[in-house]
């Protein structure tokens, strides 16, 4: 026996081997007995999902969506906004099912009360979160419906699809990055952000205001507020504009993007995005090119 292989070391090695073997046997038996048989399709579906865990599908993450799809044995009612129709198609092929088409959506900010158009009346110095500012007061511009500009929506966005414009104080949505996960919609305490149909060539027309006050009151705080005059409702031939509580709302399911309504709005509250510039008409100012 040399000094390394004495009685103590051998005994400890032997006992560890013995304990290890017993534990291995026990663990093997237990693992066999309580084996969780998981549908292999769950892993398959999860691998196809983008893995953003954004919660846009309404479930707790990509794994939860995969589990739900496999458990329910259907694709209807499930949709992955970041993946879009392409990912849903891939899942359908992998599982051998049919995938339905869904219209792609995008977030739009329905407020244009920038610092210039809705000038600050007071100066806010509290915590820079919209949730707090909303409870405290109407906002620097004075509109009780308008954007507070503290950027809660931007912080909620996991896809870097938003930024706060320093000049206007309003959030801007980047068309190519927004995946319509609705995180910003849920975060906004004033429900300013809405999910709307992405539209052909990303073209959209919407009323960029949610102020329900009477025209005069709304106008006092903001130059581009919807004053509820109803001109756009009369102009629309497709009954796409709903008028309620001093506020016009364009139903994106009915809107044909005919571009008739934006020019009639006296306060330029109706925005059109990603359209080619209008041809100048004689005797009329060209339409506001808002973006």
């Amino acid at each position: 026996m040399n000094e390394f292989f004495n009685e103590t070391t051998l005994l400890s090695v032997a006992s560890l081997v013995a304990i290890g073997s017993v534990a291995a046997v026990v663990l093997y038996v237990v693992a066999q007995k309580f084996k969780v048989i998981e549908d292999p399709r769950i892993d398959q579906v999860e691998d196809l999902l983008p893995g953003a865990n954004c919660g846009g599908c309404g479930l707790a993450g990509c794994r939860a969506l995969a589990e739900a799809i496999v458990r329910e044995e259907r694709l209807e009612g499930f949709y992955c906004p970041p993946g879009g129709n392409q990912v849903m198609q891939e899942i359908a092929e992998a599982l051998g099912w049919e995938a339905g088409e869904q219209t792609p959506m995008i977030a739009v900010v329905r407020c244009s009360g920038s610092r210039e158009l809705s000038p600050p009346k007071v100066n806010y110095e509290g915590a820079m979160t919209c949730a707090f500012a909303h409870n405290l007061f109407t906002g620097e511009g004075g509109c009780p419906y308008g954007c507070l500009g503290c950027g809660d929506c931007m912080r909620a966005c996991q896809f870097d699809a938003m930024y706060m414009d320093r000049q206007t104080g309003l959030p801007v949505i980047l068309d190519d990055k927004c995946v319509a996960c609705e995180a910003c919609v849920k975060e906004c305490p004033r429900d300013i952000i809405e999910m709307r149909k992405k539209g052909k060539k990303d073209r959209r027309i919407f009323v960029s205001c949610i102020n329900m006050e009477k025209g005069g009151v709304a106008r006092r705080n903001c130059k581009v507020a919807c004053i509820g005059c109803g001109k756009c409702v009369k102009e629309c031939r497709f009954d796409a504009i709903v008028f309620e509580n001093n506020l016009a709302y364009i139903d994106f399911a009915k809107c044909t993007l005919c571009r008739k309504c934006p020019p009639v709005c006296p306060t330029n509250a109706i925005h059109e995005l990603n359209f080619p510039p209008r041809k100048p008409k004689a005797g009329k100012e060209d339409a506001p090119a808002q973006a």
Partner: protein, 437 residues
């Protein structure tokens, strides 16, 4: 436990209460109290007299509202309140000052009260009395002790721990007799035989004055207390006076106490003995830059700008006007907002005083924990609230926070601790309500 001692700055301490004449138009909000807004009982075009009921508190936790002036109801419409949001209010164009029948305008003190318990509570209810300390909880609800509980002490809050404010102080000096008579009426209604008036030691004249007057009233004692903010909060006052601790989430009645403000006692006296509704209150108008800091008797619904005019006008270097005191008050968006039942002071700050220090990182000094009167950990609650970890907030007793602002005051890094906790409280409150259905 905890507490801070901000500079007292009681500029209007020596200014006796002046009567501010009624303005040309008053705006009387329908929600001046905690609870359900009152329902108007007058219509546009109606002629009203001072003290006439104009809106009825129909729910259990609600309060009646009376015309504070005589004149014509011009409209019942949305009017901007101190937060800038528009709330429903009754607008009255003032014509003369004719009082409604049944209100005793004689000055002599009426000490004896022949009414029974229930009649007193009814009078308080009818006359729309709410807690004048700031929380504006309807007083008649507080007067009805829940079955199975017994009130032992009536605690009267004359602490006025908020810096700058002097309304209660002046009221105690000038209306001491009436306050004591009011206290004895409240004692009768609550069926208690002991009442303690707690006053901070920085008002020795008020302590002295009430002690002298309290002689003939059995059971009423006056105590001088150490100067500390926020001692005027119910739970802290009970702890200071009786050493009893109100359990988390419970009301003072758990330890046999009912707490009222001195201003409320005065209003109770007027309501019960003189049948006068709550249509005016004392408001301190103060600030280091004001020409003449004053205490004023103001009709409810008077625009704040009128009060500032009475104090010598708005100084040019004004940075902020606060409704309330510097610790718990809220900055006003607009100076045309009306005085309500809960307005105890108007504080004008210069531009230099008005700004917050720049926000820096938390240095883990723990001062916010030391000063929190409820024994909370504000630095932690602020982070948890910000990260929306609401269950943890609940475990850390976020709902016990009374928003006194001591943490915000003491924080050397100027962190918006209270702002974040308020957001957390709103969210957690919603969660708790949803959970209980």
């Amino acid at each position: 436990m905890g507490g801070v001692h901000p500079p007292e700055n009681k500029f209007a301490e020596k200014a006796s209460i002046e009567v501010l004449p009624p303005p040309k138009t008053v705006f009387i909000p329908l929600s001046q109290h905690l609870g359900v807004p009152a329902v108007p009982v007058v219509e546009k075009g109606d002629e009203v007299k001072t003290g006439q009921l104009i809106a009825k508190g129909e729910a259990f936790i609600s309060a009646n509202i009376h015309a504070s002036v005589s004149g014509k109801v011009v409209k019942i419409d949305l009017v901007t309140d101190s937060s800038g949001y528009r709330k429903k209010a009754i607008v009255i164009q003032v014509e003369g000052d004719e009082w409604a029948d049944g209100i005793d305008l004689d000055i002599p003190l009426v000490k004896e009260c022949q009414l029974g318990r229930e009649q007193i509570v009814q009078k308080i209810n009818e006359n729309g009395i709410v807690g004048l300390g700031g929380a504006t909880f309807p007083s008649h609800v507080k007067m009805m002790v829940p079955t199975g509980k017994k009130a032992e002490y009536l605690i009267i809050n004359g602490v006025e721990c908020e810096p700058c404010l002097t309304a209660d102080h002046r009221l105690m000096l000038e209306k001491g007799e009436e306050i004591l008579a009011g206290i004895s009426i409240q004692m009768k209604a609550l069926e208690v035989d002991k009442a303690i008036v707690g006053i901070e030691a920085n008002k020795p004249d008020a302590v002295e004055h009430l002690k002298n007057l309290a002689g003939p009233y059995p059971g009423i004692s006056v105590e001088a207390l150490e100067v500390k903010y926020p001692q005027g909060a119910e739970k802290q006052l009970i702890k200071s006076l009786l050493g009893r601790e109100v359990p988390s989430g419970k009301l003072p009645i758990e330890v046999g106490c009912v707490v009222h403000n001195v201003g409320t006692s005065f209003a109770v006296y007027e309501a019960v003995q003189k049948n006068k509704p709550l249509i005016e209150r004392v408001v301190t108008v103060t600030g280091s830059s004001l020409k003449k800091p004053v205490n004023l008797w103001v009709r409810i619904g008077t625009p704040v700008i009128d009060l500032i005019e009475a104090a010598g006008g708005l100084p040019e270097d004004t940075g902020k006007v606060i409704n309330g005191g510097p610790m718990m008050g809220k900055a006003l968006n607009d100076l045309n907002v009306p005085v309500t039942k809960g307005t105890s002071g108007i504080l004008v700050l210069t531009d230099e005083q008005a700004h917050r220090p720049p926000e820096q990182h938390c240095i883990r000094c723990g001062r916010c924990v030391t000063v929190c009167p409820m024994g909370l950990e504000p630095y932690l609650l602020a982070i948890l609230s910000d990260k929306k970890r609401l269950e943890e907030c609940e475990q850390e007793r976020l709902m016990d926070c009374m928003e006194c602002g001591s943490c915000l005051y003491i924080c050397p890094s100027g962190r918006p601790l209270l702002d974040q906790m308020r957001v957390g409280k709103t969210r957690l409150g919603k969660l708790i309500r949803e959970r209980s259905g």
